[in-house]
Amino acid sequence: LTLFKKKKKTLHARINFWGKLFFVPFAVAFLAFGLFPILYSLFLSFMEYDGIRPMKFIGLENFEWVFIGDGAEGFWRTVLNVLRIMVVYIPLNLIGALLIALIMFNRRTRPKRLMQVMCFLPSVTCSVAVGIIFALLFDYDLGIINKLLMRWGFITENINWMGSAFPAWCILLLMMCWGSWGSTSLQFLGGLGGISDEIIEASIIDGSNYFQRLIYVILPSIRNVFLFIVINGFIGTFQIMDQPRMLFSSWAVTNTIGWGAADSMVFTPAWMLYNMAYSATKLGRAAAVAYAMAMVSLVFSILNFKVLLRSWKEGE
């Protein structure tokens, strides 16, 4: 018995050892590239620092600047911009991705592999490249969209897509949806795959048609996936910068930083953070903008979560 006990302990210790060992790479990466930057930027947000001269402690001045000072108008405008994008983008993303997932999930869909590749390709394309492609498509002078519209007689003069606020906003939405439908549909596919066959079969036996099944069986079964996508979409949209920046900054080589297209309609908090860090070189303020973003994002996420959860529960 003693021998058996000893053996069991050794095995446990060995498992423990290997478990810890496998955890080390993640822990090191997380500490170095996750936790440390989070804490360091919190530290920086209380400092005046340009990366060159010594840091100076200034207390809450940077936060005051973001929330109520000279930076407040710009910051809240970017928050409003991003909320405007979110209100349209999240539903569009959900609907588009769900449709794609349902088509993929259908056994009769052919050729499935090709469709999967086509749908997922935009998700693995670098967002900078996507930005350049869209900028070329909608280019004022050379863009294929203007050329086609002109050839088909819809327009007589080129449309300045990027230079007008509303068209610019629509292009950004289109680009974001195109880029995210593939990956979001994968999440839906995961949810759809988890629905038990028995439930579907039971509903068929009960005489339901496809749309009844979709509304009363399939969608309620994947409500957690919905919740996950909405919350994630909210946080992700709050952080967008690369797509609008690539789309609306001046072309490479120039030194312009950009302020988010006509009327600054797609100027986002993350873009403001970037400008503050790399154009204005005020790293303390940039860190304060980052924390302000996190705070606003957190408040909206909690609200979102509560509202959605309540509505799901009421639905049950």
Binding site: G51, D70, L136, L142, N160, G163, A262, S279
Partner: protein, 447 residues
Amino acid sequence: MKNPLIKLLAVILCLSLLLTGCGDKKKEEQNQPVSADLPPEEYVGTVTLWHWDAKSVEVCLEDFNKVYPNIKVEVVGAPGDYVDSLRNSIAGGLELPDMVMMDTTWRGELMEWGIFEDLSKEPYSLDTSIFLDYIVPTLYSTKGELITVPWDVGICGLAYNKQAAKKWLGTDDRKELEAMLPTWEAFAQKAAEIQEASDGKAYMTASAVPMMTIIANQDKSPLVVDHTLQIEKIQDNLKTMIMLRDAGAFRALKDQSPGYLASINSTNYIFWHCAPWVVPFTLVAYANKVEDSFGMIIPPEGPSISGGAGVAIVSRGKTEYQKMLAYKFLEWFLCTEQGAWSQRKNNDFYIHVKKAYEDPEYVAYGNMLFGQQDLGKIWFNEMVGELMLRPTTEVDRYIYQSDCHVAQQMAEKKDLTFDELWPMWASAYNSNEPDGYMIPKEAYETE
């Protein structure tokens, strides 16, 4: 010390202490003042240069090493965001290069960082009278330190498409065009005429930003006086741009965009800015290879500049010897006729060594696109004497960025008035939070 492991550790510790001592001793020796007058072969070592076009330097190193055989120059290709790399290296305590290229936009700000060597002091005592006069005010920081050694020349004329000029302005003769366009008002008037004649299809130029750059750089008076931004000058430039926009002088194509580059071959656009670097990198690269299809004039109201880089020696964390090696490279490369010829021969680059321009062969610059026209003569015999640049300021970048932003906006939205554009300019400028140079809100906000 029975344990062999402890013995081994003790030996390693002693060796490392010994080696550290050696390193310190060597560093101490290298930190002694170095004479600038040693025979070239006595300068021995390696220096690094951050440059965005490493190849253009590397092709000239053979010539340099004929004179300084023991100085090895490592050219590191610095990306467009070299300033971020530099700042990150400083913040992270990493080793900095010995020399850094600086573009005109960032130069004013970089010179205030306090990490570069003042070349007016001993042992360098760099004499700026060897350079073309117009560039000298831009080489100093606001504290009066001589930081920058000028690299390529950015003196800028206006290239024109001969076919388009003939079609819309009735002539492709340089002198006639210059006589026709002596001022920006005359330029605007002609622009309005060709807009009307072409039913709105023909423009003097394709993009607003290069036009804004030319106009902004024509004025030599300082933009900052007694720590105050001279907003009247900026407003005057804006008004000139609005006049040109209203006359239909430029279209809304973004600078360097595919549309802009394609416009070079269209007869609906006449002019492009034309600095020496523009000829190989823009015109020759994108124009149809048709002989004698382009010409160049002096812009209305005189010459201007576009681009033109400089270089500085990093002092932070560098020994006196290392800095001297870097200086010796720059001295030969950018301050001597041999250096000037090496770059002319290998890259078709012009640098600022005044003496080199005494040789007509050095000045002469032709290209098949421009037929028999000698561009070098126009740039360096006719334009350079009239040109003078304003002193560099630490807010140059913010001014330039705001200029570009507003120029593009006014081109895209033709109904924007001065009262709308000026606040746009000022808020774009202020969004960078320039310490001590903020434009007060009452100067641009209206009730």
